[in-house]
Symmetry: C2
DNA sequence: AATAGATTAGGTATAAATACCTGATTTTGT
DNA sequence: ACAAAATCAGGTATTTATACCTAATCTATT
């Protein structure tokens, strides 16, 4: 019997998958969390699961963020990424953060079971998504965003102009410009739309 | 025993919810589809389910689109919307397309069961999401987008400028400006970011 | 053949976003 | 207490985006 923790912000998916894994047999979901922070708090004084099935985009603490934290503090704990998107960027981010495998929410339950068993036995799993990333050197250090930059990202996904954002954040429009300049550089994108897409794809801002 | 059809593009969620509903008892999932078109094709020569649990954003044929088609052709068939987003716009679009209830993927399984039973019995269900829409007259006719506008929407979610988009679409930059102007008006948004958010929230462009 | 509607595209003016500077103040680590 | 780093904000120039015109061309319908 393999024990699992499920981490995903959609209650319905989480509880459903727990039901599915129960029916398929061989797995026991011993904990569910709706974001990374809840998982970390749980791990402090409870028995660990064999595997963590982790969503990518979640509020409060995202998948990559949480996976990196786990690699730092509990390196033996095995994380399997569960994601909606095929985006190469997302795959790289999860895998370079320490995930052992990357599974799509599009996948069949049989694929899920196969992958969980494989990771449990060997510590990693072969799958089609991951090796499609060639020699590209992965920028393994995560992008660090300041609190203000995160607040700005929330507004940048709205129709508000920088002047309006400045009023809302009680700062000079120039400062807001500065946040944009800094994010364009940090995220490696070329326009406000690029920031918006980054924020959404990485779960920093909810759709 | 209430029979159900599940329509959602994420296999994992679909099959998991089928497992969940089986465990909770009282429901039988007799058909699953990954988009509206599959459901419609199925209905042509099969027995109907009591209820359809329908995702909003799906490829090929979306939730609102499918729900409208069902209201036209099989008005007795009851649709319950299942969505990731709280966006007022999305709620309005599903409900005015003929959905009997609107449920979040964040909800608890108990809430799901309650709502399914209620819709099955009374044809509608009370929930907190929907009545939060006051007197606002709902523009019940869906927003019609031309093919070119849809192509443009794909590019507008990238970092490309209108000059670049014009080259890609083999048209004058002025024409691209025209698409933007038209979409800003049609969608009722005020900037390019507004168009991006609309496209993503409505599944016109994939994240 | 005439009308309506959609598509494409030009003109012009203003507002917003981007790029790359600079420096003052505040926080943080040691 | 000191140095390093982050935060906030001003200057300036260029590029994009937005708003609101007009009009030629094509298509479908009556």
């Amino acid at each position: 019997m393999i024990t699992l923790a499920l981490v995903d912000d959609h209650t319905m998916l989480r509880k459903s998958m727990a039901a599915l894994l129960r029916l398929m047999g061989g797995f026991e979901v011993i904990f569910q969390a709706s974001n990374g922070k809840e998982l970390i708090e749980y791990l402090e004084d409870q028995t660990w699961p064999d595997l963590v099935l982790m969503d990518v985009s979640m509020p409060v603490m995202s998948g990559p963020e949480t996976t990196r934290w786990l690699r730092e503090h509990y390196p033996e704990l095995k994380v399997v990424a569960l994601s909606m998107v095929r985006s190469e960027n997302t795959i790289i981010r999860m895998m370079s953060s320490g995930a052992r495998a990357y599974l799509l929410k599009d996948a069949e339950p049989e694929e899920l079971v196969r992958m969980l068993e494989e990771v449990h036995q060997h510590g990693f799993a072969h799958n089609e998504m991951v090796p499609s990333l060639p020699g590209r050197t992965v920028s393994s250090q995560p992008i660090q965003l300041s609190d203000q930059e995160k607040v700005y990202m929330q507004w940048v996904c709205s129709e508000k102009s920088h002047k309006e954002i400045a009023e809302l954040m009680q700062l000079s429009p120039r400062t807001i410009d500065g946040y944009r300049d800094s994010l364009l550089k940090k995220l490696g994108v070329g326009s406000r739309v690029g920031i918006v897409m980054y924020a959404l794809q990485h779960g920093i801002v909810a759709l």
